[in-house]
């Protein structure tokens, strides 16, 4: 079987090229992200970014290898049926594909490991550039990573091919004798099952994320985006013919006829749009909500970036808030977490913040006490070794509010401080920033962190989708050589054939974009309702700029690939292609 895999690989390397590039990239990214992650576990933003990179790289690699192989199975139906005809068992056909996967994994690992070293440098540079890690940061090579990389390469390939190999085993020997092997149903039972399963899963995730705390809502909604994208790409063959009806004419008929082909091309675009809209929409909704929350909460007029209140007449209240790092252990647990807390003067704090505790009162925040979010009244928390009673429960916050408040009279406050000032009308404090300006600054700081993360992740997702889309268009065009020739013999000019293929692929791209937007819309609905439950308003923020880039990019790439491949497929005189059947 392995020898046959090897010769198939050599013969049909174009079919596998996309899958190889995908696995190589997947191995490189996972390896480098892991190495950087291990070298810099203490930088929170870097860890977030790397963890998301890891997840997305692995997910997209499996997804693309899976859809590539599903597609090549459809293309190779005749070959596989022939194997069955001359006595190959179902198990042997499966083994053939799995050994192809093995080969793919080995090649992917062999090329991915050295590429990973390059990626590691780029990633480390990127993290330094974004300011997520100090300038001296460098990632180190670890020997054990070789094992992990090989595992990722083989694992991604085998996981991706598993479903396809099951489908291949069901190819009937008789199909070797028919001219068109793609008569097989596209919407198989498994496709229905997993499509609906993932759809149900993403609905469940969206529902749960509405009621989860803010910490949970973001990962839940990102997961919902991914499951919704998978669900819709599995169910895409149902939607393609419906939209094909709108296209009309030969283009519409071709869309309806080549449902699998259309769905395969639409899938990566669908995932890309869902990720871009879903992720960046989630992050920008969060930062918008955080901005509004700050506006609602802050009752001060000026914010000073230090604890030294200037002696200016007309200052009514000065609330100095010092951020300190504490080690905090939950009751009954030995292990302590590092948490940030604000040391405040309770009376002044209440006068410059509008958001009141949901239980208890900040009036009691004196002595060995604490105000905390998400902890019941009366609970004892061990903070820096001191047992403190929870006297006030802080409201849940989207992202701006503090999780712990400590009274100034029981905790020395050394650390970065700010002072919020309330003044008499008309008084200005030259050293301090007006409150509005300060809020805007806070938000843009958050935004630049977000957009740093987004740029990296979207670049990544975009790269994968690019590979997958080009791959799908190229494979599809190879299949259609004969069909193009027939179209030309029946009176279409070469230019008309190329135009037809272009319109068709644009229609398919549109389908992918629309479905991806639908998947993202569900996610955004979930995150928006989670935010509105906490902050009371629903600021859905759609990242139009990213959307425009993706849509324009998708049409450009799909169009260009389509024109190039259909030009090359129609280069030879049509008669030679019709006469020379395989």
């Amino acid at each position: 079987m392995f020898a046959l895999s090897l010769s198939t690989f050599r013969e049909r390397w174009q079919l596998f090229l996309g899958a190889i590039v995908t696995v190589v990239l997947g191995v490189a990214l996972v390896q480098s992200s892991l190495l950087v992650l291990v070298s810099g576990t203490s930088y929170v933003e870097a860890v977030t970014l790397l963890a998301m990179t890891l997840g997305i790289a692995a997910f997209l690699a499996i997804f693309i290898v899976g859809s590539t192989f599903a597609f090549t199975i459809a293309q190779r139906r005749r070959d596989l049926a022939l194997l069955r005809l001359v006595g190959g068992s179902r198990g042997q056909v499966r083994r053939l594909l799995l050994s192809e996967a093995l080969l793919l994994g080995v090649i992917g690992t062999a090329l991915g490991v050295p590429l990973g070293l390059v990626v590691m440098r780029v990633q480390a540079w990127l993290l330094r550039d974004l300011g997520f890690v100090p300038a001296t940061f460098a990632a180190r090579w670890q020997d054990w990573i070789l094992g992990v990389s090989a595992g990722i390469g083989l694992g991604v390939s085998l996981l991706g091919v598993l479903a396809a190999s099951r489908r291949a085993a069901r190819v009937r020997p008789l199909e070797a004798l028919r001219d068109t092997g793609n008569a097989a149903r596209v919407m198989t039972g498994g496709r229905w099952f997993f499509g609906l399963l993932f759809l149900a899963g993403s609905i469940a995730l969206v529902t749960v994320s509405r009621f989860a705390g803010m910490d949970g809502a973001v990962p839940l909604s990102i997961n919902a985006t991914i499951t919704a994208a998978v669900a819709l790409s599995l169910l895409a063959p149902l939607v393609v013919p419906v939209l094909g009806r709108f296209a009309g004419g030969l283009v519409g008929a071709n869309l309806r006829d080549g449902v699998r082909r259309s769905a395969s091309t639409a899938a990566p675009l669908l995932v890309l749009v869902a990720l871009v809209l879903g992720l960046s929409g989630t992050l920008s909704t969060m930062s918008e909500a955080g901005h509004r929350e700050l506006q609602q909460d802050l009752a001060g007029d000026f914010v000073l970036a230090s604890a030294d209140v200037p002696r200016v007449p007309g200052i009514l209240v000065a609330s100095t808030e010092t951020a300190v790092r504490t080690s905090l252990a939950d009751p009954g647990e030995d292990e302590a977490d590092d948490e940030e807390a604000l040391v405040v003067d309770a009376d002044a704090y209440q006068q410059v913040h509008r958001r009141a505790p949901v239980a208890g009162s900040l009036r009691d925040l004196h002595g060995t006490t604490v105000a905390a979010a998400g902890v019941p009244l009366g609970v004892m928390l061990a903070i820096d070794g001191v047992a403190r009673r929870v006297v006030a429960v802080l409201p849940e916050s989207v992202n701006a509010g503090p999780a712990y408040l400590l009274p100034r009279d029981s905790r020395p406050a050394i650390g970065p401080a700010r002072t919020i000032l309330r003044v008499e009308p008309g008084v200005t404090v030259p050293e301090a920033q007006p409150a509005d300006e300060w809020i805007a600054n806070q938000s843009s700081k958050q935004d630049s962190t977000n957009s740093g993360i987004m740029t990296v992740l979207m670049g990544l997702a975009g790269l994968y989708s690019l590979i997958a889309v080009i791959n799908a268009v190229v494979i599809a065009a190879a299949e259609r050589r004969g069909e193009f020739a027939v179209a030309r013999v029946t009176g279409m000019t070469r230019a008309e054939v190329v135009r037809m293929a272009l319109l068709e692929s644009w229609a398919v791209a549109a389908i992918g974009l629309v479905l991806g937007a639908a998947a993202a819309a569900g996610t955004l609905f979930g995150i928006a309702s989670a935010v509105s439950r906490i902050s009371g308003s629903t600021p859905v923020s759609v990242p139009w700029q990213a959307l425009v880039v993706v849509v324009a990019g998708a049409f450009a790439v799909v169009g260009l690939t389509s024109v190039c491949t259909s030009l090359s497929a129609t280069r030879r005189a049509p008669v030679t292609l019709i006469a020379a059947r395989e």
């Binding site: 046959l4 010769s7 070959d79 022939l82 069955r84 190959g88 042997q92 008789l174």
Partner: protein
């Protein structure tokens, strides 16, 4: 060994009242209509008929590639009417060989590898020498390392015949072997099949609408609208053509 035992049986393949219908209720097409037919072991039977007479369906049902709607099929002494896929796979490995109009060679394998493939799938090794001998006997001793697309249609079909020779199946099913060949290549391929029937006592079931091909067989059976309407022993090409013309007229 098994081949020798099977050959002692009088019939290699038998169809009993086989009916095969296609399509749903509104558009039901009956491709085979109660066909009962026995193919004697050690001889070459040709099934002739106009297009759409059910020839190919008959071949597919007899070879266990398609299930019949009603009736029974026996192949190499076994009832394969409702055989499971695993059983049919074993059957295809040991008892059944195919030669088709469209050659059906694996495009990524060389002529040598294509010949050895069925045996390899069955877990048998064939020596390089034997493979070369078989290919040499069909006149392709100098084309061992060529892939199908580097060979002409006639050469590809000879590789397919060599594959069947190497396998020595109980029954060789042949579908329009000359359909895609020029007349010289067609004569060569038919000559090879005739040789297999004469020297090795190979049972051959062939479907064709080429009178010249049918005339090479021992027995010719005529099929029309899914029913057997005529049969002839060792007819000439002209006789076959006349009867076929009568059927089509």
């Amino acid at each position: 060994m098994t081949n020798a035992i099977q050959r002692d049986l009088a019939t290699a393949v038998e169809l009993r009242a086989v009916t095969r219908e296609y399509g749903s209720k509104q558009a039901r097409v009956r491709a085979l209509d109660g066909v009962s037919l026995a193919f004697p072991a050690g001889s070459w039977t040709a099934v002739m008929g106009p297009s759409g007479s059910g020839k190919s369906t008959l071949l597919h049902c007899a070879a266990g590639l398609e299930r019949c709607t009603s009736g029974q099929v026996f192949l190499a002494g076994r009832d394969i009417t409702n055989a499971a896929d695993a059983e049919l796979t074993t059957l295809r490995r040991r008892e059944v060989g195919f030669v088709f109009q469209s050659f059906n060679l694996v495009g990524s394998l060389t002529a040598e590898q294509n010949v050895a493939l069925p045996l390899k799938l069955a877990g048998h090794r064939m020596s390089k020498k034997d493979i070369r001998a078989v290919l040499a006997s069909v006149g392709l001793g100098d084309r061992l390392r060529h892939r199908p697309r580097e060979l002409s249609g006639g050469q590809q079909q000879r590789v397919a015949v060599a594959r069947a020779m190497a396998l020595r199946p109980a029954v060789l099913f042949v579908d329009e072997p000359t359909g895609a060949l020029d007349s010289t290549s067609a004569r060569t391929v038919l000559g090879l099949l005739r040789g297999m029937a004469d020297t090795a006592g190979q049972t051959i079931v062939m479907v064709t609408h080429d009178p010249a091909a049918a005339a090479c067989a021992d027995t010719v059976v005529f099929l029309s609208d899914g029913r057997i309407v005529d049969r002839a022993q060792r007819p000439t090409a002209r006789e076959v053509a006349d009867r076929l013309a009568a059927l089509e007229g």
